[in-house]
């Protein structure tokens, strides 16, 4: 299918090349790559393609005479498949910008290729804060969220509301360690104390043993420095062992709307975590969500979908101002120079290190009796202003930042 789309694109390019000679092939081609059928399919998946298409439609590109095409591919969360797809997209199918890419391993691989080929990479799905830190690139913008923002938002808010003793349940691999380290730093900076931690194997299935250790520690907060299935199972088993009833609270450091959906409100209720966007915050979002769900098998948009919409919107603005999409570095530079403004994520900026800056929000999962519909899941606890939401630019060790 991907190949067919490629041919179609080339055919279209030949047809209209003379009119738009300023673009590489007369066509702006957006490649949305993510997990189309695995663990993150509901969170990113086909929904991100829909979001990108909606952004293209709303941008009025067609009226300006721009030809924009959106293609999608599945990386199955494997870096080798992902880098293969991206190389072929750029070499053969003339894709100009890669969007979304959840799973940090794949995103880190893609950022290297995109830099080498001088195209544009807009990350919405991946979490690794390294993308704007040690591994930042002049061709990459990290749009929606990152691990630092989640650790910071959740850690801060919880310590400030009295959750000052922590025990970490950490997935024993690089990602889990980083999440634990970032959160522990925030907790201690705010005067909280880390009483202990246990490293559980990744992926794990039975967390009861580790939860019991967390219980014995008498910490007020059990921080879950893990992701996906591990987080779901830890939350589920914490409920089973009466840990939440016993007065200890869980803090999810990487929780998404799809996880809450999978857990169900009776178990997930009371869980606190940070996200960048929620569909039920205002009328614009609600209208978008309704339109989106109609085109995406009834699944409501996640913050990652919103991020894709926002990123594509801004990209199209920059490209149509530049009247060129060939030089990836120039496009990203233009995107950094222009303030961002779109209907979902509002006004914001893109920093020199490639970090998109906007407010983050602290949510709490509703109790079953408070929920009025299948997607009525969160209530807003606090807003983290844009200038505090992300890692200060100097601390990321990004080589692009002078000094």
């Amino acid at each position: 299918m991907k190949r067919l789309l490629g041919f179609a694109a080339i055919a279209a390019a030949i047809g209209c090349a003379p009119a738009h000679a300023q673009f590489t092939d007369g066509i702006i081609k957006i490649g949305v790559m993510n997990d189309m059928s695995g663990l993150y399919a509901d969170l990113t998946g086909p929904g991100s393609v829909v979001a990108a298409q909606m952004a293209v439609e709303d941008s009025g590109a067609a009226a300006k005479g721009l030809k924009v095409e959106v293609v999608g591919a599945d990386h199955q969360n494997k870096p080798d498949i992902g880098s293969n797809v991206v190389r072929q997209w750029i070499d053969r199918d003339k894709v100009d910008v890669i969007v979304d890419v959840p799973t940090s391993s794949v995103a880190l691989a893609v950022t290297e290729i995109v830099k080498e080929k001088n195209k544009v990479f807009l990350v919405s799905g991946a979490a690794a804060s390294d993308l704007t830190g040690a591994k930042c690139s002049p061709n990459t913008i990290h749009w929606t969220y990152d691990t630092w923002a989640l650790a910071n938002g959740t850690g801060n808010a919880i310590v400030k509301t009295g959750g000052d003793t922590w025990f970490f349940l950490t997935a024993d691999y690089a990602f889990g360690h980083a999440l634990e380290r970032d959160t522990a730093a925030v907790v201690e900076k705010n005067g909280g104390k880390v009483l202990g931690k246990v490293r559980h194997p990744f992926p794990g299935t039975d967390f009861s043993s580790f939860l019991l250790q967390a219980q014995t520690s008498k910490a007020k907060i059990i921080g879950l420095a893990n992701a996906g299935g591990d987080t779901i199972n830890s939350i589920k088993q914490a409920a089973e062992f009466g840990i939440t009833k016993g007065g200890q609270n869980l803090a999810g450091l990487l929780v998404f709307i799809s996880d809450v959906k999978a857990l169900g409100l009776p178990i997930a209720q009371g869980l606190i975590f940070t996200e960048a966007w929620y569909w039920d915050m205002n009328d614009t979002n609600r209208a978008f969500a309704k339109k989106f769900a109609e085109r995406n098998k009834g699944i409501y948009p996640s913050m990652i979908h919103a991020g894709v919409y926002s990123a594509v919107t801004h990209y199209l603005k920059a490209v149509s101002d530049l009247k060129s999409d060939g030089d990836g570095k120039a496009v990203v530079a233009k995107m950094k120079a222009m303030p961002t403004d779109d209907k979902l994520m509002g006004k914001g900026t893109v920093r020199a290190d490639g970090r998109k800056i906007h407010p983050m929000y602290l949510f709490e999962v509703k109790k079953p009796q408070e929920s009025k519909g299948p997607w009525d899941l969160y209530k807003l606890r606090a807003t983290i202003p844009a200038d505090q939401a992300f890692r200060p630019i100097g601390e990321g060790k990004c080589p692009l930042v002078g000094g």
């Binding site: 059928s37 591919a73 599945d74 870096p79 880098s83 391993s105 194997p201």
Partner: protein, 321 residues
Amino acid sequence: MQRVASLQAVSYSERSRSGTVAFLVMVALLLVAPTVIYPLFLMKVLCFALFACAFNLLIGYVGLLSFGHALYFGWASYVSAYTAKAWGFTPELAILSGAATAAAFGLVAGALAIRRQGIYFAMITLALAQMMYFFAVQAPFTGGEDGIQAVPRGHLFGLISLADPMAMYTVVVVVFLACFLVIYRIIHSPFGEVLKAIRENEARAISLGYKTDRYKLVAFVLSATLAGVAGGMKAIVFQLASLTDVYWAMSGEVVLMTLVGGLGTVFGPVVGAFVIIAMQNYLAAFGQWVMVIQGSIFVACVMLFRRGVIGEIANLFGIKL
């Protein structure tokens, strides 16, 4: 596995002739291919073809089904990637260090696994591979889920830059052909004949005075080492080493490639690797359906054509390939 592998007896000259012709055809195809097919895809096929050939050395000629070959492939790719990136090894040294690691793991795992036969052998290799998978997840130098990224392709012998796809392709073809000939040589040596004797009837081989355990262990280590070369090469070509390569699904894939191509045929694994990688590449849009399709091919091969593509062709023409 004897029922698959034993083909009709053919005269030696005829056998070597058909083999030589097939080999020359393969070399010719490899020379022409990059003008028609995307080179990166070809390099991927060749890495897996070598991996499958190494695996086939065990199952096809000793009758041992290893369900844990991802261990050697994946760990070699980690070591090659790490030495190339962190210690600045040249590509050939990086691949060699990967292969050496695979050989060492092969020695340990092989010594344990050959203590049992048949299905147990398969389960033990699988379990040991899974154990090393968990180590790969936890070990700091592998980068956990992120893997080792941005591995430099470097300069061959410190001289020739491999950043150019054609230079890289040439290296991959040369390494592949060299290892292929090594495997061919092993199979047709007196040592290889003993291996086949063990496959057909181990008890008889023992009664003839062969220390079969030693033969099996040597074959196991050779197979692991060559799988390591394939893994190391893949890390350099794709500039990436990741958990995918050590996961048990990878062990399953190499079994599938060999089965599709033809167990116990020299050229089968190469054809099988091409078929499976092409399928994965062009069906990538179907996502998880690839898994279902692979599973169905497994079932179809076991039920309907146990000889595989090359095995069926060889059988049809009464030649040995």
